[in-house]
């Protein structure tokens, strides 16, 4: 009981002595006439004890953290023990700050920040560079040119960053006769596509990660399809294929809204989960709702000789998000 108090008292004595020294040095500074508004030393032995107890308890928390680490305890135990230790240090600091150490409020004049005439002096100083020089403008022009050249030389290598992988923007590897395969490379047959569900297909032999590659294959009642002009017959018995990359912001169009009761519910639509652009499957993936500006490009389908699905031609338009020149692609 005795020694923590003595340690605290010793610490307080050190603090007070240091304060006094600082005050002496301070008063020797003529340019900072601060006024002490309030100065209180609020400490009591009990408060000092509280701080000490909090700090010892914090050490226990840290020890508990180390032990938990040694025992491979869960993340929760690690976080809780470390949090408790740190929280106790915080509490000790705040108690010490508000109730133990000297509370001193001072009023100090604001340091002046403006220096009259400094503009002229800097201008004059910088201007000395032209002293005794006849062809100032020529030298100025030459220096500016050199700096501009250096800037260009510094920037040019950055252009190498454009490596140009993944084909032209908006392009797609699909051509007439490209087989539709699944993630494992197996061909997709019409009977694999279930009405009310969708499959994801890739062009055989191409990089599936290319934006132009993935298509979503949907099966609907063929009599309900209302294709845009020129796209009649792009389905195989109601099986349609569209680019899976949203034309708004490039997310995968990963949801199919399919009516459970045809007469009263909206028709089948592909929905992007990022910003909920909704594309009407029956009308060539026209935008029905949401921010997308273009329909999903459609891939014409036909049956290959072996009865599996293949592309009957290229995509109907540029794939993926739009850009400045998208309408010329």
């Amino acid at each position: 009981m005795g020694w923590p108090r003595r340690v605290a008292a010793g610490l307080a004595a050190v603090v007070i002595r240091r304060r006094a020294e600082a005050a002496v040095e301070q008063s020797a500074e003529p340019d900072s006439p601060e006024i002490v508004v309030e100065r209180v030393a609020p400490s009591t032995p009990r408060r000092e004890l509280v701080v000490a107890v909090l700090l010892f308890a914090a050490a226990l928390g840290f020890a508990a953290f180390a032990a938990a680490y040694g025992l491979s305890a869960s993340t929760q135990v690690l976080g809780a023990s470390l949090g408790i230790g740190l929280g106790l240090v915080a509490a000790a600091c705040v108690v010490a700050a508000k109730l133990v150490v000297v509370q001193e409020t001072i009023a100090e004049p604001r340091p002046p920040i403006r220096h009259p005439g400094v503009g002229e002096r800097v201008e004059g100083g910088l201007g000395q560079i032209g002293e005794g020089i006849d062809r100032r403008r020529l030298l100025g022009l030459a220096a500016t040119t050199a700096v501009a050249g250096l800037g260009a030389a510094a920037v040019v290598p950055m252009l190498s960053a454009a490596e140009g992988v993944g084909g032209g923007t908006g392009s797609s590897p699909w051509r007439a006769g490209t087989a539709l395969v699944d993630e494992h490379g197996a061909p997709i047959r019409p009977e694999d596509v279930i009405v009310g569900s969708f499959a994801t297909a890739f062009p055989k032999g191409s990089d599936p990660r290319e934006l132009g590659s993935p298509v979503v294959v949907v099966a609907v009642d063929p009599s309900m399809i209302r294709p845009p002009r020129g796209r009649e017959g792009w389905d195989v018995n109601g099986i349609l294929a569209f680019s899976k990359i949203c034309t708004h912001a490039g997310c995968a169009v990963a949801m199919l809204r399919y009516p459970l009761y045809q007469p009263s519910e909206p028709g089948p639509a592909l929905v992007c989960p990022c910003h909920y652009s909704t594309f009407d499957v029956l009308r060539g993936a026209a935008v029905e709702f949401g921010p997308a500006g273009r329909p999903l490009p459609q891939l014409p389908l036909r049956l290959a000789a072996d009865g599996s699905l293949e592309a009957a031609g290229p995509m109907s338009g540029p794939v993926g998000p739009a850009w400045w020149g998208v309408s010329r692609a």
């Binding site: 976080g79 990660r209 912001a249 500006g293």
Partner: protein, 477 residues
């Protein structure tokens, strides 16, 4: 020892008087002054936890087969970035604690900066001579948002991949240069070259933190040079600073705050799960999931992308893609207004004086009302950013929410403006405090020179009062 050390340093650098001064630096006390400190302390935690994470994280898109302890991923082909993050989370002792604390610290960092910005804005602390520091602060907020986005894009999980696809589309949507810019950064068409991971990594762990550290140093140095602002009060003038001395009164308080912030962040990191990427799975461009929620500071942008009608004009054969409106123009206008504000206000008010005393929001109804309207303009799309969660939780149809929020985006800010302006002007003119009621007393000078409360409406006799205690606004030091 301190005496000898200081002397030794002083004899070699001459910083002695500066140290003495630093010990006596006055800190005006107000709880809102702590918001910036919370941001600073979160940054320190971010750097420390971030360094730890770099010991385990592999910034590479090279693929391997997963053989860790998380059985649902057994045998899956994953990138090193994803696999090492899962390994760090589930198989490295204290790895998940540090990773989650890092993520929580990022959220708190940006939240604290945002609240700090609002405090600075609504109290007029950005006025001359502090415009430079205001601009530095805004720049740090911009960088912090970018930094956070790159941070959660690094693990190459499904959420980060979807976020990057959107970022790519937003970059592509910039008129004229968008396509070249996006292909330049990604090294080709999205998902781009493998080098994009290294680029994001060096930006996240070196470039932006380095710039942030530098700007923080300048930010703090400028505060020291100009000294803190303060609210008006007894003895608090334009020409002085009244506050607790730095050592020990204030320093211990601030160290306490540092440990409190650290305690909360580590407790969150240990107890509240965030970004469980092993559940999300690795990213492939053809995979998507519903209910995607970005970090909170991206909410206003995803909401703006969602609220924008499908307006994608093609003029003369050139297209302005839809993500430009919500993803580029909207944040540019918001930050543009904030960046030019100090000069715009100066120009309109014609006030070119220095200001060191803060204003209460009511003291400047125009600024407060415009700020509140701007805030509303940002908050409405922020709500739209979680419209899908609102649909799941409250069963309010998504399209209906979009209709309402689209209208609110443009109708609510003027309403908020008028309301705030009216309330501020009323408060300023009457000095009524609605929460406390009227606490003053009316006194009148008597012909004899004393003070008395005049007779009430009931005609009671006047009572002579003792001299009033020093008031809030009329006092002297």
């Amino acid at each position: 020892m301190i005496r000898k050390g200081t002397s030794a340093l002083d004899e070699r650098t001459g910083v002695g008087p500066m140290l003495v001064k630093a010990l006596r630096y006055p800190f005006p006390e107000n709880w809102t002054f702590l918001l910036g400190e919370i941001a600073l302390y979160s940054f320190i935690i971010l750097v420390l936890t971030g360094i730890y994470l770099t010991f385990f994280f592999q910034p590479s898109l090279h693929t391997t087969v997963y053989h860790g302890s998380y059985s649902p991923l057994q045998g899956a082909t994953v990138t090193d970035a994803y696999g090492s993050t899962v390994h760090l989370s589930l198989d490295v002792r204290a790895g998940l604690l540090v990773r989650q604390t890092h993520h929580w610290a990022a959220l708190v960092f940006i939240a604290a900066i945002t609240l700090h910005l609002m405090r600075i804005f609504f109290t007029g602390a950005f006025r001359k001579p502090r415009e430079l520091n205001y601009v530095i602060g805004l720049t740090m907020l911009t960088l912090a948002i970018l930094e956070g986005f790159f941070g959660y894009s690094l693990p190459d999980d499904l959420l980060s991949g979807m976020g990057l696809a959107i970022a790519y589309s937003v970059a592509m949507s910039i008129p004229v240069i968008g396509e070249d810019l996006a292909r330049w950064f990604w090294g080709g068409q999205f998902p781009g070259s493998h080098t994009v991971e290294s680029r994001m990594y060096v930006i996240h762990v070196l470039l932006i933190p380095g710039i942030l550290g530098l700007l923080i140093a300048v930010h703090l140095a400028l505060i020291m040079v100009l000294h803190h602002t303060q609210f008006a009060g007894p003895g608090r003038r334009e020409r002085n600073v009244v506050g607790l001395v730095a050592w020990p009164s204030y320093a211990l308080r601030s160290i306490g705050l540092f440990f409190a912030v650290t305690a909360v962040l580590f407790a969150l990191g240990g107890l509240v799960q965030i970004n469980p990427i092993w559940q999300y799975g690795p990213y492939e461009p053809w995979v998507g999931t519903n209910g995607v929620q970005p970090d909170w500071y991206m909410g206003w942008l995803i909401g703006a992308l969602r609220l924008m009608p499908n307006f994608e004009p093609t003029i003369g054969g050139y297209t302005i893609p839809n993500p430009f409106w919500g993803g580029v123009l909207f944040p540019m206008v918001t930050f543009g207004i904030l960046y030019v504000w100090p000069w715009a206000e100066r120009w309109v008010s014609g006030d070119r004086r220095e200001h060191h005393l803060l204003q209460r929001p009511r003291d400047n109804p125009w600024r407060t009302a415009i700020g509140a309207a701007l805030f509303t303009w940002v908050v409405v799309p922020f709500v739209a950013g979680s419209s899908d969660r609102i649909f799941v939780t409250f069963d309010i149809p998504y399209p209906r929410q979009v209709d309402v929020l689209r209208a609110a985006w443009w109708l609510l800010p003027p309403v908020v403006f008028v309301l705030t302006f009216t309330v501020c002007r009323h408060l300023r003119d009457t000095e009524v405090r609605p929460l406390r009621g009227w606490t003053g007393r009316v006194v009148a000078r008597t012909p004899q020179g004393g003070f008395a409360e005049p007779a009430g409406a009931d005609g009671g006799t006047p009572t002579v009062s003792p001299p009033l205690p020093e008031g809030r606004s009329g006092g002297t030091p």
